[in-house]
Symmetry: D2
Subunit: 454 residues, 4 copies
C-alpha cells in the first residue's frame, strides 16, 4: 500500500526561473531535498551535450538544468491528468495521483548516473549511465537514497523501477521513457533554445492539452495528431542537424583517442600518472566503485587534460591540446561496403606520414531511429504512439501521418571517417610540407566530403 | 600609417549560430585565427556570471560565448557607420573604416584576461583582469599576440590601447567601453536570455539604428532617446535582480572564505597541498606569471575543491563541500552606520557557537552606478550619453529622460551580512541543537531580512 | 446571497489559441455564451488601437482580441488567489471564489461599449464608452443581458457595478480597473506584440506570482517590487512611443475634421447624406439609441468615407481621401503659453493659402499620468500600488522605487499643432507653387519640429 | 536597355517596425510612393486570412501587412545575391542587380488585386485576383501605374510580367512565385505569428544564407537541405491546421450562401437592394470595371451585411446574422465515392426540416499539394526545389529528403459536408424541437465527425 501521497508539501511552493518553461515549480519537501543533495548538484558540472558546444557555442547548459526541466514537464502532465482524468476505480485506465511522487522523483533523477562526456567515457571504461543512475538511487550511501527513504523504505526501489521500466504502472514508465516522454520533450526544446537553432521547437502546450492516460500507458487525443507529428519531425531535425553534427563528433573522436591513450599509457607504466589523474586511477585500474564515479565531472577531466599538456608522451600531450584548444578531427562520409579498401589505403598513407592510426584515425557512425512501431517479436521493441478518436478507436501514429510513416523504422544518420584536419587543410606555419605527395594522394580519395572508391 | 585595412578576408564568410544574435559573422581570417587560439578557447571554461548560475540555473554560459557576442555587436555598428557615416576627410567626426579591424579585435578580446570567478579570485590573489587582458595581447609568448602581429608589428599595441582607453580615436574606445558599449549591450541581452529573466531585454535593433559617430566619440540620434532610456532601465534591473542577487553573493562568500582558508593553510604549511593544487601553487607563493594564470579555469578550481573535500583541515573541507554542493551563506541587509555594534554582538554569538568568524562571517556590499554625467573634475569620470537633434544641438541623456535622471549619479545596491544558513534555519537532523539559545538570540537581531538595532 | 458559484461548467474546457497568452481557457457555459452574443462579436470589427495601425502596420488587432486577453489574465489571477489565499471567514482580506464569475464577466465585457475610433467619435457625438458598456450589460434588449440574467436576475447589475467601480468588493474592482489591472496588463503586452515594439514587455508571470488579495483590494508581495516597477516603465514607454505617436494623432486629426465636416454639412442640409450614411444619421440628428450605436463599427465608417469620396463638398471628399489613403496631418510641438501668437499668425497664413482652419488646423494634446499616489482629498484619485513585507508592513510603490518616484504624479506627453503635410513638404508635381512665399513664412516658425516664438 | 538601376534613392532609408521581420527597410523613393498610393493603402482594409480570424482570433492582419513582408524578404535576398553572387557577364547564372527594382516592386504589389474574402467572392462573381493585380499595375488610371511609369514607360509591363511569370529572368520570377518564394515564406511566418501557432515557424535566416541564383532560377546550397525540408513541413502543417480549419471553412460556407442569396434576389428584383449595396451593384449587374473593384473591402461587405439584417428576405437576413455574429456551419468529413447517397438522404431530411439546401447545405473540399517535382509534360507544372553540392552536382529536394518525398505530388486535405450547427447541436431556447425525429435521423449518419454509409 502506498503511503506517500500525503508526503510533506512545502508551506509555499518554491520556483526556479527557467528560460524554457518560465518557472520550475517545486511543491514537495522531498523534491527540494533531492535537488540539494550532492549527487544532484554534481550534475551542474556535467554538460548536457558533451562536445556539441564546440560546434554550437551557445549550448553550454548542464544536465542539472535539463533534469529540472524533465521534472517540470512531468509535473505539468500529472496536473493535467489529475484535473481531467482522475481515477475512479483501479484498472479504469485513468490517473491515480498517488503515482505523482514516484513519477516526479524518477523524472528528476533519470540522468543522475551521467558522467563527463558519458558517451565516450562509457566506450573506454565500460560504465553504464542507466545502471549507475539506479545504483545512486538504491545505494544506501548516497544522499539521494537517504532522502528517498524518508518517503518510505521501499520508495528508492520504486523510483529505480520506473527508470528500469519495470514499474507496474505503464503510465508512469511511459511518462519518463517512451518515444514521446518528458525527457525527450525537455531536451529537444532546451537544446534548441541553448544552441539557438529553431528545429527543435514544437508545441509543448498543445501536446500537454492532448496527452491522456490509458490502460496501457499514455495516449493522445486525435485532435493532437499534427502536434505529435511536428514533435517527431523536430526530433529528427535535431538529430540530423545538432546531435550528429560532424564537427562535434570530430571533437568526440579526439576525446576518445586522448582517453584511450591515457589508459594505454597508464596500464603500461603506473608512474606516468601518479599525480595528475587521481580521480581517474580507479578507472584505469578497473577498481572503481560508485563513490569514485561520483567524483568525476567535466572540470575534473579537462583539468587532467591540462596537466597532460606537459606530459612527456607526445601523443598524449598532442591530443590533450587538440581537445582543450578545439582542433576537431575532420571527417568524410563513406560507405562501409564499398569504401573499406580505400580507407585501408588512406590508413597506410597516414602511417607513412607518421601518424599512429590507433590514435589519429577512426570511423564513427551516428544513427537514430526517429520513430518506430511496436514490434511484438523484436527485443527492445518500443511502445508506439497512439491516438484515441472520439468513439474510442485507437490509431497508431504512422497510420495517421505520412510524414512519420516516411521516418518509421528507418535508421537515420551517417558513417564517417575521422582524421587530423591538417592532412587535408595544409600544414605548418613554416610553409614546409614534407608530406605533400602523401597528402595529395590522401585528398584524391575525397570528393564532396565523401570517400570515393572507383 | 595604417596598413591593415585590406587584411585578408575569408573567401566566404563563416558563421556561428548564436541564440542571442542569430549568427556571429566572421569575415576576416585574423578574427577566425584569434578565435582558434588557445588563450581564447580557454574562455569556454570560464563562466560569464560566476556564482550566478547557483541562483539562475539557466545562466551557465561562458565568457567565450559572450565575447563572440560583443564582437558581433561591434561588427554591426561598424557596418552601420560605414554605410551611413563614412568619413570624407580626417577630423570630420565620421567613421574611418580603417578602424574596423582594431575595433573588432578589441571587442573580441576585451575579456581575455578573466579567470575563474574573477571577482573573488582578484580579492584573494591581487590579480587584475584588465591588466591581464593587455598582457595576453602584448606578450610575445601568446598565440593571440602572434596572430595579431601578422596584421602589423604594432597592431597588438593598438588593440591593447583600445582596451586601456588610450587609443586616439574615441569612437573606437567608446564602442568597446563606455556607458553604452558593445560589451554591456551584449551581456545584458545574453545574461537575460540565459537566465530566463526578461528585465535585460531592450531594443538592440533600434539602438543600432540611432547610434552614430561624432567628433568626440559615439552619440545617438534624438529619435532614439526612449530606446536608450529603456537600455538604462534594463541595466539597472539586471543589477538589482540578477547580478546582485543575495543568494549568488552567498555562494561568492563561501568561495571567498574557501580560497582564503586554502591560502592561509598553504602559507603556513607547504606540505598540505603539494598534490592537490598544482596550478594554484604559484598564486599561493605569489610567484605566478602569465602562463600560470592561463592554466586556470572554473574546472581547475572545482577539481581542487573536490580534492579538498578529503582534506584533514575541517574548515577547508567544510567550505569546499558548501561550495560544491551549493550551501550558500545566508544574508541580511544592514546599515553600516547604525548596525555595527549589533554585528559585533552577532559575531560574538557565532564564536560562542563554535564558528571562526574569519571564515564564516563577512559583509558584502554590491553597488552599481546605473548612469552618470561626465564630471570634468572627477577622477575616473565617465563619458556621458548624448543625443543629437535635427539642427545639431546636443542633449545629455539625463536632461532628456526623467527616469534616467532619477538614477543618475546615485549608487544602487545594498550591504549585507553573511553567515551560515543553519544558524537561522534550524540545525541537525537529530533535532538536537545545543546552541538553541545562542541561535535564538542571533535571530532576534533580524526582522524582515534586515538587521535591527535599537 | 450569491447563487452563481455553482453555475454550469463546460463538460470540457474550451480553449482559443492566443498569441500573447498561449491559450484563452473558457470553463463556464455563461462565458462561452457571452462570447457568442452579437454585441460581443461586434468587437471583432473595431480595432483596439484606432489610428495607430497607420503608424505601426502590425497593430491591426481588434477589441475582441484584447477582451479575451483581459478575461484570461483575470482568470489566472482568480486561480492563484483561490489556490494560495482562499478566504476562511468574511472580512479576512482573502479571496472568496464566489466572486470569480462576476470578475470574469466584468473582465470580458469591460470594453463592450467601445465604438469605431471611440476617442474621436466621442468628441464629435458626445458618446461615452464606459456608460455604453453599462447600458449594454443592463439593457434587457441585448443578448449580453439575456445571458447574464441566466446566472441571476441581479447578475447584470453586479457586473455593471464592477465596471462602474461601485461593486462592494474592492478586490474585484481593482482586478478590472486600477493602476495595475488585468485590462492594462493585457493591452500593454498585446499592443507590444502586435506592433512589434518591445517596450511593452514586462514579466506577467512574475507579477502573477506576487499579486495577492488584501482587505482593501489588491496588493503585491515585496519580492515583486522590481517586476511592478518594470511594468510602470513599460506603460510609460508604450504611451510615449506608441499611443502618443505624432503620426497616429495626425490621422486622428484628419478623422476628427472629416466627421466634424460631415456633421456640419448634415445639420445644414439633410439631403446631402440620405443614401450614404444611414447608420450615422441618428447621431447627426442626436436621436440615437443603444441599438443605433451597436450598428457602428470601423467598416461602417470607412464605407461611408468611401462613399463621400464622390461627394460634391470638396472639403468632405478631400478629408475622406486623406483618411482612406493615409495622408496624416503633420505636426510640430508647441508651448501654449509662449507660442499662441505664433499659432495665430500661422493660422492666418493658412487662410491666405486657402485652407479653412476649422477643418485643416488643430491642436492636440496627449498626456498620461504613468502612476500616482492615492490623494484622499482629490476627486478621481487613484488606488495606489502597494507592497507587503514579510512582517506585514505596507510600502507604497513610489517609496520603494526611485524610478517610479520620478514618474509619479507628473503628466507625460506633449501638445502639438496639426496642419496638412503639403504646406511644409512642397507641393504639386508640376513644381509650381503659388503659395511659396506663404509656405516659406509658415516654415520659418518651425525648428527641430517645434514652434519657435521669438 | 534597363535604365532604372540608378533610380532615386531616399536620402535616408525609411523603416517601418514589423513584428515578423523587425523592420521593413524602404530605400527607393518609388517604393515609398507605391506604398502611399490609394490602391496599396486599400489593402489595409482587407484581411490576409479571410474567415480564419473567426477560428484564430489573433489572425486579424491585413494584406497590406503581408505585402510589406514579402517586399522585405525579396529585398534581403537581393542584398545577399549582390553581395555574394554578383554577375560578371550576361548568362553566367549570377545576379544582376539591375533586376532589383522590378523584383522589389513585383514583391510589394503581388497581392494588389485581392479583394474582400477573395476566395468566396471569386466563386460568386468570377473575378480573378491575379488578373486584377496585373490590371491595376498596367491600367493608366491607377496611382500605382503612374508611380511605376516614372521609372520608365515600360516598367509597369515588366512588373506585371514578373507576376504573370512571363518575365525573361527566371531568378526574378522564382523569387516572387515558386514553391519556395518570398510570398510563401512571409505568409507562413506571419500567419503563424498572428494566429499564435508555432507550426509555421521555420528558419528564415538560415534559408537566406543558403539561397543562391542559378542559370535556371533560384537554387540552394546543399548545406541548407534540412532548413528547406523544415520549411516544407511548416507549410504542410499550416495548411492542415490553420488554412483548412473546418470552422473557418464553416464561416466561408455561410458567406458563400449569403452572397449567393443576395445575388439571386438582386437578379430577380432590382428594388430590393437599391440603397443597401451600392458598391456591389456593378457586380450583381455584371457590369463592373476596375474602379468598381477597387471600391470594395472587408468593411464594405460587412456594412452591407449589417444593412441586410433588416431585409425582408428571411434567408438573406438569417445568413447575414450568421456571418456577422459568427455562427459557422458545422461539418463532417465524407468520401465522395462512397457517401453520396447518404448525403442525398441528409439533404432530403434538411428539406423536411424546412431548410432550403441551396443556401444551407454544401460540400467543400480543401486540398493542397505541399510540394511537387517538375513534371515536364504536365500543364501548370511547378519549378522544383534543387540543391547544389560542392562540386556543382544538382540534387532535387525529394531525392534528398524522405520526409518531403512522403509529401511529394500528393494532394493533402479533405472534403466536408456543411450544414447549420443547430441540426446536430439541439434547437431553440424554448426547448421545443418539432424536428427531433428528423434531426436524430440526420445525426445517425454521422460518427467520429464523419459520414458513415453502410
Amino acid at each position: 500500500m502506498k503511503t506517500y501521497y500525503n508526503v510533506e508539501m512545502l508551506p509555499k511552493e518554491k520556483v526556479f526561473r527557467d528560460p524554457v518553461h518560465g518557472y520550475i515549480h517545486i511543491q514537495h519537501q522531498v523534491v527540494l531535498d533531492l535537488v540539494n543533495t550532492k549527487e544532484f548538484q554534481r550534475l551542474r558540472r556535467i554538460k548536457q551535450l558533451g562536445t556539441s558546444s564546440f560546434t554550437f557555442h551557445g549550448a553550454e547548459h548542464s544536465r542539472f538544468n535539463h533534469s529540472l526541466g524533465v521534472y517540470e514537464i512531468a509535473r505539468r502532465i500529472c496536473d493535467k491528468f489529475v484535473r481531467n482524468y482522475p481515477t475512479v476505480e483501479p484498472g479504469d485506465g485513468l490517473w491515480d495521483d498517488n503515482e505523482r511522487l514516484v513519477t516526479l522523483c524518477a523524472a528528476l533523477l533519470h540522468d543522475l548516473g551521467h558522467g563527463p562526456f558519458s558517451h565516450t567515457f562509457e566506450k573506454i571504461f565500460g560504465t553504464d549511465h542507466e545502471d549507475l543512475t539506479i545504483q545512486i538511487i538504491t545505494s544506501p550511501d548516497t544522499e539521494i537514497n537517504q532522502v528517498l527513504r524518508e518517503v518510505g523504505l521501499d520508495f528508492p526501489n520504486q523510483v529505480a523501477a520506473v527508470i528500469a521500466k519495470t514499474y507496474p504502472n505503464p503510465q508512469v514508465v511511459q511518462m519518463i521513457s517512451s518515444q514521446i516522454d518528458a525527457d525527450r520533450m525537455d531536451y529537444l526544446l532546451r537544446d534548441a533554445y541553448y544552441s539557438g537553432v529553431t528545429y527543435g521547437t514544437f508545441d509543448l502546450t498543445r501536446i500537454l492539452r492532448v496527452i491522456r492516460p490509458a490502460e496501457k500507458g499514455i495516449i493522445f487525443e486525435n485532435s493532437g495528431m499534427h502536434a505529435v507529428e511536428d514533435y517527431i519531425v523536430s526530433r529528427y531535425q535535431m538529430y540530423m542537424q545538432v546531435y550528429f553534427h560532424p564537427v562535434s563528433r570530430g571533437m568526440e573522436m579526439v576525446l576518445y583517442h586522448l582517453m584511450k591513450r591515457a589508459k594505454d599509457i597508464y596500464q603500461n607504466d603506473l608512474q606516468e600518472f601518479h599525480h595528475n589523474a587521481t580521480f581517474l586511477e580507479p578507472f584505469f585500474n578497473n577498481t572503481w566503485e560508485l563513490k569514485d564515479y561520483l567524483r568525476l565531472d567535466d572540470g575534473v577531466l579537462t583539468t587532467y587534460f591540462s596537466h597532460w599538456l606537459d606530459d612527456s608522451d607526445p601523443t598524449l600531450s598532442d591530443l590533450a591540446g587538440r581537445f582543450l584548444h578545439r582542433a576537431p578531427f575532420k571527417s568524410v562520409r563513406f560507405d562501409r561496403e564499398k569504401d573499406w579498401p580505400t580507407i585501408q589505403a588512406m590508413q597506410s598513407l597516414m602511417e607513412e606520414m607518421g601518424y599512429n592510426p590507433n590514435y589519429y584515425m577512426s570511423t564513427n557512425n551516428s544513427f537514430d531511429l526517429p520513430y518506430d512501431l511496436y514490434r511484438p517479436h523484436k527485443a527492445g521493441s518500443k511502445t508506439q504512439i497512439e491516438f484515441m478518436e472520439k468513439n474510442g478507436t485507437i490509431v497508431e501514429l504512422s497510420q495517421a501521418s505520412s510524414i512519420v510513416s516516411a521516418l518509421t523504422g528507418k535508421m537515420r544518420g551517417d558513417e564517417r571517417l575521422y582524421f587530423p584536419r591538417e592532412i587535408t587543410h595544409g600544414f605548418s606555419e613554416e610553409g614546409i610540407n614534407l608530406f605533400d605527395n602523401l597528402a595529395e594522394q590522401f585528398k584524391s580519395y575525397i570528393e564532396n566530403d565523401e570517400i570515393i572508391t572507383e
